[in-house]
Symmetry: C2
Subunit: 314 residues, 2 copies
């Protein structure tokens, strides 16, 4: 494939606390801000802005206060005139869009990286809206080489950018980084370190890219969202009647074949996976998805050819 | 040691949801209530009452709504006249004390078993106020024999019953059962099943006890609370500046020797354990203890001689 040339990435935003109880991002952003205050600004070609996205939710150590901030970056909400008494997260989304965007404008930062934790065994995972964002795919390939402590993968939401709803969509480029497993509301050193390594390697990649390094193309694995699956529920009470089967728990990104165990009911019955084709479950038993009616997402694994990449000459 | 004879245990309370986001107990109590409705009451010598302790917190999937219910069973709160606008959990504690107690009275249920989850790697753990509650120690010994899927242990709070603050203290006998690791706000099949096995075996033990079985004495391990340890904190902001060291994370009930790593700061410095004697950490990185300033408890391990036990003849 022919080398793709893209403009340099000179303004990067690193955001944590978009969900207030996902503590690795909260503490990593605070740590970066502290180091920024303590060290002399080096004359660097990359300017990094760090943002604590939902300070009110962080303060309360909750996912959100009134509605999920990471579902507020839709065109409808970003353009809505907000009256007195508007939901806090809607106001904050508009504010963040002003600071880091506005989305689709020339003033938007070049790259938004939004840091998240999950209770699922996801390792370190980049999430993007499409599979032809060469920067995300090259960063992922670079992280796979640089990071040994956890597996690194990329999930493609497979939706048009016009339907975007999450914070990273306000930048010219963007992705979220999910790291897990970590219970919400606490910090594990292994997960914090994996996130810190991910951010450090990403900035390293950006510096190399800006300085003219040619990144070779090749094949990478991409997991594309197919559909979500809810927990089995009691038809009368609407309450969950089964958990993730022990043979599936903690096996995010592992193939699930037709006939494999999927759920185990409280009375001991196994429910099998009845899809026609093998798929790859992710976000298996993510605690904050209970309220969304999502026990896991099913994805399709594809090999994607990516082109060599180099910064545009001035 | 001479055989100890104790009255039969005819009324048992099994409580879940004392903390509303510890879901194994919530769903196990609901499941037991469902089975109770669906099956004919057998003519059994044990009457089991199941209680969802904090329904308002369960509804919101939070630990508590206004204050930690499991710290409300103090003599001061239980005897306090409650005005209009009193905290919900204080009212509920008095209500539960009426239903299951009152504490110290002859009408109190014989045994209260309160079900909890922890994010720490605690296996299945009975918690009692003292180490001479022969029923708790014998139940623990029986569970160690019956349950293979997780380790079973007993923690002794080592405090006089007059200082009791938790739900199980309203029964004539009582203990809480902690099962983990499980993030709060979700259900893992392995942890749910371990709790279910624990409750089943406990009821089995009670039936055997009531029917006259002699339980042999012997030696058991007891972990007695020594003191709690807080996370290192930034002296200026009061914010956490380190996590549990990766070598200590998930090693609840494993010996910690002077000089062993204890914390790892965000900048990579290791803080060592500086006690004089080896101790045994428990509740290592329990998420709900962040607000209480507890990174872990340190316990002392002792071998305790327990006497043979048999029900009193009528």
């Amino acid at each position: 494939m022919a080398t793709v040339h893209l403009p340099s990435i000179t303004r990067v935003a690193i955001c944590g606390g978009t969900h207030g109880n996902e503590l690795s991002g909260v503490y990593l952003v605070r740590e970066l801000q502290k180091r920024e205050r303590e060290t002399q600004k080096e004359a660097e070609p990359v300017s990094v802005v760090t943002v604590l996205s939902n300070p009110r939710a962080v303060q309360q150590c909750r996912r959100y206060t009134e509605m999920d901030l990471n579902r507020c970056f839709t065109s409808a909400i970003l353009s809505k005139p907000l009256d007195v008494g508007a939901l806090y997260e809607m106001e904050r989304a508009q504010e963040l869009n002003k600071i880091l965007g506005p989305r689709g404008s020339t003033t938007a930062v070049d790259l938004v990286c939004d840091l998240h934790n999950t209770t699922a065994n996801m390792g370190l995972c980049l999430i993007t809206y499409s599979d032809n964002n060469w920067i995300s795919l090259h960063v992922m390939k670079y992280l796979q080489r640089e990071i040994q402590s956890v597996p690194v993968r990329l999930v493609d939401l497979g939706m048009p950018h016009s339907e975007a709803y999450s914070l990273e969509s306000v930048g010219k480029h963007g992705f979220s980084i999910e790291v897990g497993p970590q219970p919400h509301g606490l910090l594990r050193a292994d997960i914090f370190n994996a996130m810190q390594d991910g951010v450090r390697s990403m900035l390293d990649w950006i510096r190399r890219f800006n300085s003219g390094t040619i990144f070779h193309g090749g094949e990478v694995d991409v997991y594309t969202m197919v559909r979500s699956v809810d927990y089995p529920k009691d038809p009368e009470t609407g309450s969950i009647s089964a958990t993730i089967h022990p043979q599936l728990q903690d096996r995010d990104f592992c193939v699930l074949r037709p006939g494999d165990p999927m759920f185990l009911s409280f009375t001991g019955q196994t429910q099998l996976f009845e899809e026609e084709e093998p798929l790859y479950p992710i976000f298996v038993n993510e605690s904050s998805y209970y309220e969304k009616g999502i026990a896991m997402w099913l994805t399709r694994l594809r090999r994607v050819q990516i082109p060599p990449l180099q910064v545009q000459a001035d």
